[in-house]
Symmetry: C2
Subunit: 374 residues, 2 copies
């Protein structure tokens, strides 16, 4: 029983160390909150990539020097840093002189922007379904009208807007860009910009989130809006509306539709999900999560995204045709064809496939950390 | 510039805190290594779910009490605990009296088992391609013959084995179970067991990994093998070979094949991957990673897994048929059909879909932590 007592003793010491860890993280969080305050006073952006990279690199070197895994300290610090960003999100008041109208501000994404603008000191008005009789009053004096309504009605809502002040910025946050941008340019002679926030409304902050910008007209007049978005921590990417929409055929339509049919197939094959989970490696569990999570979300939203660009169906038909051909080859036992196609795609992915394998391995390890209990 | 100096000062303090963090994690790792040693002396398993759960819960409560996010401390500790398990993997000598032959021991998965058995003190011999002339000598006196060869040749390799000692355990690690298990039962009158390690050969340890067990014959004679696997930290799940293979139609064939065709489609559509990545939200980046990573791996292995069960092609044809029907509905603009099917699948997933959404959200946040620099 001596070793058993030794084990208990060691566990007590580990618990004490973990207690110190909590204290240390608390101290760090307080310091980070202070940093956030000072940055706001200085008007500096929340997210400074170089500072973060250097901070991580210094700690990696220290860890390596003492024989601790550099990946461990980096993973831990990244997780801690995320928490800091969330802490630092508190009001950065810099839009006190702006009057902003969010059309569809009662929706999930609209609410996020309302909150952000309000926390920055702007006067924010909402123009939602029931407010249209007062629309002209609501937009009077607006510096920005941001349209955040379902994709299927976006062009009509834009067309129905009352006349806007000449210097007012008209912007939208729809997940396609060509049609809404054109509708906005047709509607309004002043500054116009299309935005596509590439994240779901469950996101609490913009820190490190991606937002696509498709320029319309008069960029100098909406530069303040883009600067606010960067200040909130987002990562802006400029894309032509047409290039954006083409890529979305794959990033949204191809993905949502194949995930949807995957789910339909599992349901119709009456697959026992509990059994599937018991048999799942972390990677398959992740795959199943990616399918299942779709069905906890808004069916209308997915229907609208898929139906918004009918020209994508021809591309999906080509996918089906390829699937059909490949199954035919496999049914004929043509392993050589499979290996040939595999090599073709491996060449197409090039270095990306190895990078993806390494990155996903790292992520699956993180997923594996939580696998047992949740 | 006063605030600028204050910012520098705060950053210096944060760096000092992070330096302390490295020291603390180093101390913890040393304690955990001690725990590993004592556990080995006591012959106790590496992974004790209750101890881990209690440790996490205590820290969560401490964090909540001082106003720190309980999720933060849990994520950090889980990452730290993973490192501890890897540290604790050093030799646990308990198989000194076993003679083990790994057929295909030069392959990636075979090597992992060779390493594990050797670290546990067993005498391990390898029977690989060039060793067949000496096969009878190699298996003489074996307590375990573990077959780890490509799925396509597994039944033949088993049939070609020399006669084994009567009390020798015959086991395999193939990713289907019915055919190999039957081949082993036909070959050998002694104890027989089928194993399916549900992880890739890149895995360094068995800690928290899933291994499926399909019992063949004489469980009391291979109980020692299962106990070793648990001692190494793996999670064993018992499944009938037929139920296992049915589930694998979805977990492997459906998944690998649809991922494969997804890759073929992207390549043939000449999609610009760099542009796709620039436009990717964390969740789509993850999806693209899951597709691309396949093509950094062994084409033969995937071909063999897909071709090993030709009866699955009918199931895949049903999937294609469903896809075709749904595209037809969408082409006809039948949103109501989409919404109806969506509701059907949402009902099928039930609580799982919400759980998956929450779990994946948590994981995507972890992925997002690393998004900017890698």
């Amino acid at each position: 029983m001596d070793e058993q007592r030794q084990l208990e003793q060691l566990r007590t010491e580990i618990d004490a160390t973990d207690g110190e860890l909590v204290e240390l993280l608390l101290r760090r969080r307080r310091l980070a909150a202070e940093v956030g305050k000072v940055k706001r006073q200085l008007g500096q952006p929340l997210y400074v990539p170089d500072r973060e990279a250097k901070m991580l690199e210094d700690r990696r070197q220290q860890a390596a020097a003492v024989g601790l895994s550099p990946d461990l300290i980096e993973d831990v610090l990244r997780r801690v840093i995320r928490e800091s960003y969330q802490q630092q999100q508190a009001a950065d008041v810099h839009l006190q002189d702006k009057n902003i109208v969010v059309v569809g501000g009662a929706g999930a994404l609209g609410q996020l922007f309302v909150r952000l603008f309000e926390s920055a000191g702007a006067s924010v008005a909402i123009l939602d379904k029931d407010d249209w009789p007062r629309a002209a009053d609501i937009v009077a004096g607006a510096d920005l009208v941001l349209v955040s309504v379902p994709i299927a009605i976006t062009p009509q809502v834009i067309a129905d807007l009352p006349e806007l002040p000449a210097r007012c910025v008209l912007a939208d946050v729809t997940s396609i860009k060509q049609t809404p941008l054109q509708a906005m340019l047709d509607k309004h002679q002043g500054p116009v910009v299309g935005l596509h926030p590439m994240f779901g409304p469950q996101q609490q902050t913009l820190a490190k989130q991606l937002i696509v910008v498709s320029h319309g007209r008069g960029q100098e007049h909406y530069q303040w809006l883009l600067e606010s978005i960067v200040r909130w921590g987002a990562n802006l990417q400029e894309f032509e509306a047409s290039a954006h929409d083409q890529a979305m055929a794959f990033i949204q339509v191809m993905r949502h539709l194949s995930t949807f049919v995957y789910g339909v197939h599992l349901a119709r094959e009456r697959v026992d999900l509990q059994q599937l989970l018991e048999l799942s490696s972390p990677i398959y569990r992740l795959e199943l999560m990616m399918v299942g999570r779709l069905f906890a979300q808004n069916a209308e939203l997915y229907a609208d995204i898929i139906l918004s660009q009918p020209q994508n169906f021809a591309m999906m038909r080509r996918y089906l045709q390829r699937f059909d051909t490949i199954i035919g080859e496999l049914e004929a036992g043509d392993k050589a064809a499979f290996l040939r196609e595999f090599a073709e795609v491996a060449a197409y992915f090039g270095q990306f496939s190895t990078d993806f394998l390494n990155d996903s391995q790292r992520l699956l390890s993180l997923a594996g950390d939580t696998h047992q209990i949740r």
